[in-house]
Amino acid sequence: MHIYSSHVLVCSGTSCTSKKSPELIKKLEEGIKRKKLDEKIQVITTSCFGLCAEGPIVVVYPEGAIYSNVTLNDIDEIINEHLVKGRIVKRLLSGNNEGNNSYESADFFKKQVRIALRNCGVINPEIIEEYIAYDGYQALGKVLTTMTPEQVIDKVLDSGLRGRGGAGFPTGRKWLFAANAKGDKKYVCCNADEGDPGAFMDRSILEGDPHSIIEAMAIAAYGIGSDQGYIYVRAEYPIAVKRLNIAIDQAKELGLLGDKIFGTDFSFNLELRLGAGAFVCGEETALMTSIEGKRGEPRPRPPFPANKGLFQKPTILNNVETLSNIPIIILKGADWFKTIGTKKSPGTKVFAIGGKINNTGLVEIPMGTTLREVIYDIGGGIPNGKKFKAAQTGGPSGGCIPTEHLDVPIEYDTLIELGSMMGSGGLIIMDEDNCMVDIAKFFLEFSVDESCGKCPPCRIGTKRMYGILKRITEGKGEEGDIETLEELAETIQAAALCGLGKTSPNPVLSTLRYFRHEYEEHIVNKKCSAGVCKELLDYIIIPNDCMGCTKCIKVCPTKAITGKIKEPHIIDQEECIKCGACLEACPFGAIIRK
């Protein structure tokens, strides 16, 4: 049997035949023969495709291209373009690309402004040329060939850029300190440790746009007079590590890292250091200790890293997102940057929205956007018609923002006033089903686990606070617990060695500030109205609804339920371990949790 590589199907249904499809067949066969393709291409007549309104219909396989309204004049083009050159003749296709279906057109993206994430989802991060195509390394070129180090720092200072790693310290000021520090060797470090639970914007930038960080670090190095940089990235980010390594190799190959960059005397080398995922290693002094190859413990400040940092040399440390803003500030200018965001916090911030919200994900918004806009316009509101209760920002160092402050613009200083903080950008939305004591306990437990143990206020204090919270959620809270919590919090804040300890009481203090009544309810009434704290709930059988089927008796692991068949059953509260198995087993909805 002869095998053809292509088939041209021409419809010979009634409708297409009346629109002269037999003539098309004739012309096709002649044309194919003339091109000596008749060994390879076969013309076949078929029955109705069901597309009569658009007939005559011609379909070409193996591609499966469906041409509609084909006339005799189109045949030569089909033969020359498609059958000879393998290019589909788009104008004859029946389809049309109507409407805008890009992700940018979705509501989720409409209020976003993409600066830090500008290349994420646009370029191929493993191809340096694609970064260069989107103005990559132009800023470095401009800096090295037309600006002095002082001008670079001035520009960053003027832009008002503040650290996106949490504290919001002005980046230009940090660079200026290090530039003024005396030293033969200086270092530029990038904090890619990203320890906040739920935050993943730094990972996203490293995976989607690694060259922007390399470029920014080279610019910073030129500004402060350094020739060596380190990126401290957690080993749990294997794809980010892989793409950073590829990016560094490509930059070296093109001479964008190494010696005499852009034909100047400036040299810069960059290395990765992998962290093992300890939260405290995101703290600047612990991070540097870890890069030095020692156990990642913080050291007292002063001396500040700008004077004595890595290997006791002047050092700057910046967060990934902070750095990703640098090249574009150099290219577009400080004045442009200041038109975005607010006066005190120019630019944008990336948030990882999670929790009780419809559109979870990463969003980049101008500073000063309100929480309400983020939750309702971008986030699409709270699922299942539930009521918003609070938003948690700043992770284990932050706090929560209740409903009455939904319209406060998000920027560094307003969040601090509200008893929370920007943090690295985790934004967890909570609804009426979240218990605030439980939330505080969750974050405190994180701090207890992650405390490095070097200083007693943090090591012992957080554990004591956690113990009290645990008791409260188990229904063993006592009068005076709240006061003890506050006292401990104050001591830890004042006496802890590093930021981890100092900020660890924040989740408790902020929930006490806005939801004190929930603590009191737990302690005094032994109730959790959100229905979260297991020990404070009772499972009860409503006698009128119970049919006496004994299903609950069979599933109860502690034999706490008794009752005769066809008579209402009873749960012995002393024996009940609140596992909820009976509630799930009851076919009549006769068991409730109160």
Partner: protein
């Protein structure tokens, strides 16, 4: 790198390479391959795109990119045409990819029910 001129030359060439070209059927396919995409199955999606195109003798560049932020809709792919229109397909499966190649790449018909705008309920 010796000079800005050298950088500009690379840029010009790269921009040209990234352009959507006629000999590539006038399309470019870009698949989200950050941690979120890969965890949701972007690798088999990329393979299916390549297989489907090969099977149909069609040359369309398949590239990858980072995360756009809607990780719960991964695996995602953008199809960009030569007039700059971008279509974002979400929650892809190999079966959906087969249909997208057939309908969109070959026949120029957006498969609306797989696009990001089909999720009006969520957005």
């Amino acid at each position: 790198m010796k000079s800005i001129a050298e950088l500009d030359a690379i840029r010009k060439k790269a921009l040209n390479n990234m352009k959507v070209k006629k000999e590539n059927q006038g399309y470019r396919i870009i698949i989200g391959m950050a941690t979120c995409g890969i965890a949701a199955g972007a690798v088999p999606i990329m393979n299916t795109f390549k297989e489907q195109l090969e099977k149909r003798n069609i040359k369309v560049p398949v590239s990858m990119t980072g995360c756009v932020g809607v990780c719960r809709l991964e695996p995602m792919a953008d199809i960009i045409d030569d007039s700059g229109n971008k279509t974002t397909y979400i929650m892809l499966t190999p079966e959906k990819v087969e249909r997208i190649v057939q309908n969109h790449i070959i026949n120029g018909q957006v498969v609306s029910e797989y696009t990001i705008n089909s999720t009006q309920a969520i957005f």
